[in-house]
Symmetry: C2
DNA sequence: GGACCTAAATATAAGATCCAAATAAATTCT
DNA sequence: AGAATTTATTTGGATCTTATATTTAGGTCC
């Protein structure tokens, strides 16, 4: 497949090495005996494979007895662990108005994090890439390592992304967001849709084979996991939410089709202060100053216009949930992104609208607990999954000699 | 995983055997040299593996030189082929009003076919199973083999089916359709949703990684293939079409939610002859005698009411296409089932309704060419795919001694 | 401190598999 | 009949795994 085609005689060794490495990636420190139980191989084989992995720089033998074990009886076991210096992974959330990056070791422990606001439209593609490059450099410096240590970088962008990491050619905005990061960032680079990464993060938090994660700040995008697998679609368009308004207005998409809940709250509030009949506290703010936060805040204080908007958002969400549940048998819908903390009332209203007599069980509607970091967390999780799946494809920094 | 856990030393042999067998399942008759090219193994190894497969009853050496090859020069190659008597697969379309079964060899060549009308509600679960048992027995007799020859039986039922072959407990109709075939039918038995099987059949006809196949006779069900994989959902509910009317009537599903295009044409026609203002040839038929065929026929002759119905069906289809395209990035929508031959005008109208300014390309709408046999064909194809994926899991009838 | 116990590491032998190269066989062409 | 050609078979070597026996490193008990 990739790299040198191993001779068939060495294939077995490689299979066993991968299995052992997969095990090592989940354990802190392990003995040969534990590895024997996990892989089903003999002690001699396990030790041989470990030897090879130490030589390749993946593992290191740990000698100091910092152990509180239950009084081991016989000869003490040799213990191995993943070599700290084997490498790190980088996650990057390359949003429209900000960049967030996170560097972790191979077990997902954070080593460095950076965030920066950007103006993508002023920067252009090249500018976005350069900014990302710089930010990652800083985060790597925080983590005390360099470009060569990065095994894999996963980038989340707000655009459909196909299996090759490309976005549809028609979309100018999409092309701007998916700025061609691959050549400039360290290690192997994988570009993925941001909502898809959010879905991976949510699934890692609470495993479930059929979840939809709605990344719902400015734009609306869904990461769909069905039968435990992320859906992509030919051009990466799976999870786009354009269909919503297609229904409202008879196949003609109107404005708002891809707006997220946050953007909608803002838009409806700015429009509502003109058209709404009753009194509303939102009029105290200048029209251009109204943000989604203000609407949620006003609703909590009982403002009627804000309450209406909450209800409309809830109805919208309920529709989405029904479609996802009906068409894909989704069992859990997670609202993620920056506004997930304030979304409670919307969820409540949406739940009340769900039909009760439908044949199949209703999906549960929940808010994400990961806040604004879903995408970066998902990027890291995605990177780690990838490395776990085929560890040998990502060579660690060569050991000495 | 299944069966005897092979010792690790034998794993390599097994891998190579499976690879060779997969190759053999696609070829008519092959030489060791061809197998070498396909698997990348040495001649000695290939012959050794072939030896083992002959011993296991999978392959047989073909000696008679019924070959029109281009005058081979050197020593003639030994040629192998899949043993005809290795086994057969059975497909069963267990619909509500009929049973269809097809027996084929391991390359999908038909050996026997039977069809029978049934009254499922009168028969009950046990009666359905018994009828299926009998019909399959007849088809096997036509094919000249018995129960022991069946490696795998795939059953399609009009109900959601989860990964274990079970349907949701709530649905009485579903439980009746998914009648518990497994213990009574020959070979390993797999139960699957009928629309999913139709999707597999369509994809086998014209490969495409993202297709939706609407099985649209009496009931509406979709088989969804995204990223080359069939979607199932936790309870097998992926592809249910209840969401349609949820939109029309504000989250309250009304009648017709799961009716197929055929059923809708009939219902609308029977209702329409009362409410419609103009003249229509459909009134010449008794209300209870109007069938979907009559509506399509009348439309071809220019009847206005029938034309209206066609348009409404087209609009419905267009909605479905837009949702599938938008939410799942589906590139092709196939209408399959008994009415697929008459569906042309509906497709035309639906195409005209598709929006043209949407960001992503529109799905193509096509009619299936497999007619009423889609489900059975898909069942066979599904069985063959399964056997190709893990051939060794299905032992062939033991060879002599 | 020394005898004993235990579980792990090492060493050794054996089995299975594959590859590479040499040898033998079967067929066509001259 | 003999050369050429292609394939089958045999043989030796290398790799990797397993199974068994032996050694080793610690602890415990007296």
């Amino acid at each position: 497949m990739d790299g040198t085609t191993a001779s068939s005689t060495q294939l077995l060794r490689q299979i066993n090495s991968e299995a052992l490495l997969r095990f090592a990636l989940q354990e802190q420190v392990f003995t040969a005996g534990e590895a024997m139980a996990a892989t089903g191989l003999t002690r001699a084989t396990v030790l041989g494979v470990c030897d090879g992995l130490v030589g390749a720089g993946w593992l290191e033998e740990v000698s100091d007895g910092g152990d509180a074990g239950p009084a081991p009886k016989g000869r003490p076991a040799r213990r191995y662990q993943l070599r700290e210096a084997a490498g790190v992974v980088v996650g990057l959330d390359a949003g429209e108005g900000y960049l967030t990056t996170l560097v972790t070791d191979l077990r997902g422990r954070g080593l460095g994090k950076r965030r920066k606001s950007i103006d993508s439209h002023a920067l252009g593609r090249a500018g976005r890439v350069a900014s990302a490059r710089e930010l990652i450099g800083q985060a790597l410096a925080d983590a005390g390592c360099g470009d060569d240590d990065v095994l894999l970088t996963v980038v989340g962008v707000p655009a459909p992304v196909d299996a090759e990491g490309m976005s549809p050619e028609g979309g100018e905005f999409w092309q701007l967001m998916n700025s061609g990061f691959a050549p400039a960032l360290p290690g192997t680079v994988i570009v993925e849709n941001d909502a898809n990464l959010a879905a991976i993060a949510e699934q890692a938090q609470e495993p479930s084979a059929n979840v939809a994660t709605l990344l719902s700040g400015e734009r609306f995008g869904a990461g769909l996991i069905v039968d435990g697998r992320l859906l992509r679609g030919r051009q990466g368009g799976a999870g786009e939410m354009r269909f919503l308004d297609v229904f409202d207005s008879k196949l003609v998409p109107d404005e708002g089709g891809s707006d997220g809940l946050g953007a909608l709250a803002r838009k409806w509030a700015r429009k509502g202060i003109h058209s709404y009949g009753g009194t509303t506290s939102l009029r105290r703010l200048p029209e251009e100053g109204i943000q989604a936060e203000d609407v949620f805040q006003a609703a909590r204080e009982g403002d009627p216009l804000a309450g209406d908007i909450i209800d409309r958002l809830g109805a919208r969400l309920a529709r989405i949930a029904v479609v996802l549940s009906s068409l894909l048998d989704i069992e859990r819908v997670v609202i993620a992104g920056g506004i997930s903390s304030a979304i409670g009332p919307v969820l409540e209203h949406a739940r009340s609208l769900l039909p009760t007599d439908s044949g199949l069980p209703l999906p549960s509607l929940v808010a994400s607990t990961l806040g604004a970091e879903v995408v970066v967390q998902g990027a890291i999780e995605s990177a780690l999954m990838r490395i776990r799946r085929e560890p040998m494809a990502f060579l660690p920094r060569a050991a000495r000699s």
